[in-house]
Symmetry: C2
Subunit: 151 residues, 2 copies
Amino acid sequence: MIPKRSKYAIQALKCLAKVYREKKHLSIATIAEEENIPRKFLETILLQLRNGGMVGSKMGATGGYFLVKHPDEIVLSSIIRATGGPIALLPCVSLNFYEECTECPHEELCGLHDVMLEVREASIHILSKTSLADLILREKKLLRKSENKRK
Amino acid sequence: MIPKRSKYAIQALKCLAKVYREKKHLSIATIAEEENIPRKFLETILLQLRNGGMVGSKMGATGGYFLVKHPDEIVLSSIIRATGGPIALLPCVSLNFYEECTECPHEELCGLHDVMLEVREASIHILSKTSLADLILREKKLLRKSENKRK
DNA sequence: AAATATACTACTAATTTAATAGGAATTAAA
DNA sequence: TTTAATTCCTATTAAATTAGTAGTATATTT
């Protein structure tokens, strides 16, 4: 499981992506309310994303946050990583949270390691091809689908 | 990430799978030593696996644990589940640890939910086709490969 | 100057997971 | 029949992680 932190980050960035074209920025409070995220917690998350170079901020009254890249270029895997969320199922196959198995004498001979690498690759493949723009597109499609169903 | 508990379970079962043909059984202490797992912790894990119907046990002196199914029939996904490890990256897409998103008004319209379902399916696909027997086979292949390299 | 933001960092609370403790029940063998 | 070796069971503690909060400094607009 990825931490809530990472999930909140994705939600917040999706929010910002929706106003990207209009070059608007949103305040923490606005995003927090819109997405039901605890305000102060969101604050620390956005700060982390800013330090990670994914969003920019403007201080002072009428300040707020905005994306510094096109929604097409921000993919889920990098958001998860920027917020400290591991994608792999075991530390010994994690790119960013790697830890040696104390029990495995030779990692490269471990069958479990081998399988878990495959799982990681499959997950990263999906998460790295899905951008904020894709996420929004998906939601449009889902909405259309559900509207057709209702007819 | 899956809990250590699940990883230990897989290691222990792999151990048992290796002696399955000879119809031998192994004591907790033996497995614990072989796999570098804290003995008392392993005890609770094996108990859980027994209650889950994956292994059998024999009490008393010369007692121990053994697989009740063929190593071909025990797959990684069921071991992980039997030991309480979630495979999905978010609670809202977990089959066994499902929890509703408090923030999502309509789960079926959420783009993130949609993507995470795909990730889950991809992971489960791999973990459900890999059995203990496969794991052992993989290790043989890895060993052969590394021996060829050394030449 | 007042109001409204972000910046920063330290702290607390809550939850989960890992590991241990300790004795009861069971079995085999001395 | 006693002893040693083992599983069975459940409660508890310890450790680590994550979630969330507090409070103050700094910047910007009106």
